[in-house]
Structure formats: C-alpha cells, structure tokens
C-alpha cells in the first residue's frame, strides 16, 4: 500500500516536472525530448490506474510515434530555417493567461476531488453483457460491440486525416512519395536494426492483436507496432515508400473501415440493427474486423508520420 503510494507520488511528480520542463524549454528539441519522457511516465501511470490497454497505446502512439513525428518535423524545420513564429504575449497578458489556466486546473482538481464514491459508471452493465460478446477483454468489448459505432467513426477519422495530410502536398508532388527526401543507408547500425527487428515486431504485433480479444491488447497497439516497423525499413531506405497514387496502398488504408461498415450494414439487413453481429459468430466476426482494421490503421499511422508527399514518385 505504502509502496504503491510511493510509486504513484514519484510517477506524478516526475510527470509534472517533465511537463513544466516542456513549457520552460527554450529549444523545441528539448521540449520534444522531455515530452517523450513524459509520455513514457504516463504509460506507467496508466498501469497504476489499471488501464493496461491505454498504457500500451500511450507508450506506442503517445510517446513513440508522436515522438518520431515531432522530431522529424523539427529536423525539417531546422534545415529549412523558416518557421513561422507568432509574437509572444506581453507580460500582463502572460500573467492573466497564467491565472486563467490556474483557475481551470483548480476547477478540474476540485471536480476530481468532488467525485462521488463509488463513481457512477457502466462497469456493471459491461460485466452483465460481456458474455454475449464471447470476448474476455472488456475494453475490446466496448470498442467493438457496445460502442462499435465510435470505433468505426474513429477508423474513418484516420482515413480522413491521411487524406487531409496528403492534400497539403504542393501541386508538383501531388501523387508523389510521402515524407522528406531521405538518403538510403544500406550499411551501418540503422540498417542492421531495420533488417533484424521487423520480423520480431510482426510476430509480437500479431500476438498483441490476437490476445486483444481476451487480454490487454488489440488493433491499435498492434497497428502502432506494425507502423513502427514500417517506418524503420522506410527510414533505413530498405523499402521504398509507396507513392500516394499507389492503388494497393489506398486500398489497404480504406479496407478496414470499408469492411467494418459493410458488416455494420449486413447487421442492419440480417439482424435488424446497424453493427449487429450475426448470432453465434460474434467473436469470429470481430476478430476478422480487428485483423483487417489493424492493417489499415497501421498503414494510416505510418503514412501520417511520413507526412505530405514532397517528392515525385519514382518513374
């Protein structure tokens, strides 16, 4: 009990200190490095909050992929040397902003302290209905069954984000290759890692996806690992990044949401409700959707990190 409290206090203090470090940092690089460390501490905080699914996602996406994205962006801006900065607010304005933010923090803190015990929740309803889903992991049950519509819309949001990022391409490189020009390095430590790690990553990702039905894990965590493996081989230049005009690439990104929506419509036709799964086949249906969605989400996440097309497609 005491040990647990000590761990919590250390985690909270460390995370708070790093967050303050982020806003005090003079250089963007420092801020990003502190932010990545902050994300890893938060992942541990999620473990302490009994949210292992969230902890895995926070470590993989919140710290990992976001970190790569921000560091790559800083590198590109530092090389280009023309970042649009805005004017800093004056001293008085800063003080008022600080006071306002402090008020929001105090109000939120009061809300946290004033929560009724036990808090009203849906845990009992989930527990009562989980057996019908044939799933063992309640979070997957919520994502795929009880709030399946949210997950479908989220998958659609990822597709829209990819379209949004791609649309920012200058006319000259529209349909070109995403990301900054990157020299291929077939020797050296980066290439060695990119040759060794992806097979292991694939097995681990499929495992996380597969156990997600009954234990912490699932498509988002698996997709983040797969995306990381893809980025590793792209950054090492071992595999060429496909141009955005590539139809297989577009099909991969759209397949997951499309299948999910098709199954939802089939449920409307057969069972009489959108996203109603066929009786007796609930778990297999969910697993198929999870696998296809994982592939789509992985492709979308990796392409979102690469950014807008900025090079012509290779002939």
């Amino acid at each position: 009990m005491i040990a647990g409290l000590a761990v919590d206090v250390l985690l909270a203090a460390g995370s708070l200190g790093l967050a303050l470090g982020v806003i005090r940092a003079r250089r963007v690089f420092t801020a990003i490095a502190l932010f990545i460390a902050h994300g890893l501490l938060l992942a541990l905080a999620w473990v302490r909050l009994d949210a292992l699914d969230v902890a895995l996602t926070e470590a993989a996406i919140g710290a990992g992929l976001s970190g790569v994205l921000l560091l790559a962006a800083r590198h590109r801006l530092a090389r280009g040397g023309s970042e649009r900065t805005t004017e800093a607010p004056g001293r008085v304005a800063t003080i008022f902003i600080g006071l306002g933010c402090a008020c929001i923090t105090v109000a939120l803190g009061y809300a946290v302290l004033a929560l009724p015990k036990p808090a009203p929740g849906l845990a009992a309803e989930v527990a009562a209905n989980l057996a019908a889903t044939e799933l063992g992991n309640p979070v997957t049950g919520v994502l795929m069954v009880f709030r399946g519509l949210d997950t479908l819309l989220e998958a659609a949001v990822l597709v829209l984000a990819v379209i949004g990022v791609w649309s920012l391409a200058p006319d000259a490189t529209w349909r070109g290759t995403p990301g900054a020009p990157w020299p291929a390095v077939t020797d050296g430590p980066r290439a060695l890692l990119a040759r060794l790690l992806p097979p292991i990553g694939i097995v681990v990702a499929v495992h996380i996806l597969w156990v997600g039905a009954d234990a912490p894990g699932g498509k988002f965590q698996a997709a983040a690992i797969l995306a990381a493996m893809g980025l590793l081989v792209w950054f090492a230049g071992l595999v060429r990044v496909p141009p955005t005009a590539s139809w297989p690439l577009r099909a991969t990104i759209a397949a997951g949401p499309a299948l999910f929506m098709a199954i939802g419509l089939a449920g409307l036709a057969v069972e009489g409700a959108f996203l109603a799964y066929p009786e007796g086949l609930v778990k297999p249906t969910i697993l198929i959707v999870e696998f296809v969605l994982a592939a789509s989400v992985a492709a979308a996440l990796a392409l979102l990190v690469m950014g807008a097309p900025s090079r012509d497609a290779p002939p």
């Binding site: 302490r48 023309s82 800063t94 845990a123 949210d150």
Partner: protein, 97 residues
C-alpha cells in the same frame, strides 16, 4: 488513492498545456503543449474510470475504451497540425526564392 492523485496530475497537465499553447511562439512547441493538454484530459477521464470500477473490473472499461479512441484521434490531429506547419514553412521558402 491512485485515481485521485493521477486525476489531480491530469488537472495540472491541462493547465500547463493550455498555458504553453497560449504563450508559445513556435508552432511545434504549441503542438507539443496541445498534446500535454490532451494527456491531462485523458488522465482526468482515467481517474473517473478507475473510480467507476466494480462488477469484477478494476476500472470502468467504457471510459478506458473512449480514451483509447481519443489517443488515436489526438495523434491524427497532431499529424495534421504538423503537416500544416511544414507546409506553411515550405510556402515561405517558395515566397523567398
């Protein structure tokens, strides 16, 4: 106990992130602060989830699933913001040439 502590941490992160977003001058810095703000919101929600445990679950799975969704959507928003910043910087390059 963990729930209260991390809930308060979440409240603090919301304030810190919002402050950084409002007073920051560099776009990337403000995007990082936007992510701090988001993680604070998720933590407050996670604290609520932890409090709502019961029926054999250590925490309420519904808010946890929503946080998962939120993390991925926040990431998508971040990538879009970063792409916009890079495009603006690129445009400025073109203007100067």
């Amino acid at each position: 106990m963990s729930a209260t502590l991390f809930g308060l941490l979440g409240a603090a992160l919301v304030g810190i992130g919002l402050f950084g977003m409002l007073v920051g001058t560099q776009p990337l810095m403000r995007i990082v602060c936007f992510n701090l703000l988001g993680s604070g919101v998720f933590l407050v929600f996670g604290a609520v989830a932890r409090r709502g445990g019961g029926a054999g679950f250590a925490a309420d799975p519904v808010p946890q699933a929503v946080i998962l969704t939120g993390l991925v959507v926040a990431f998508a928003a971040t990538t879009l913001a970063v792409a916009l910043v890079l495009r603006l910087a690129g445009n400025e390059d073109e203007d100067r040439h």
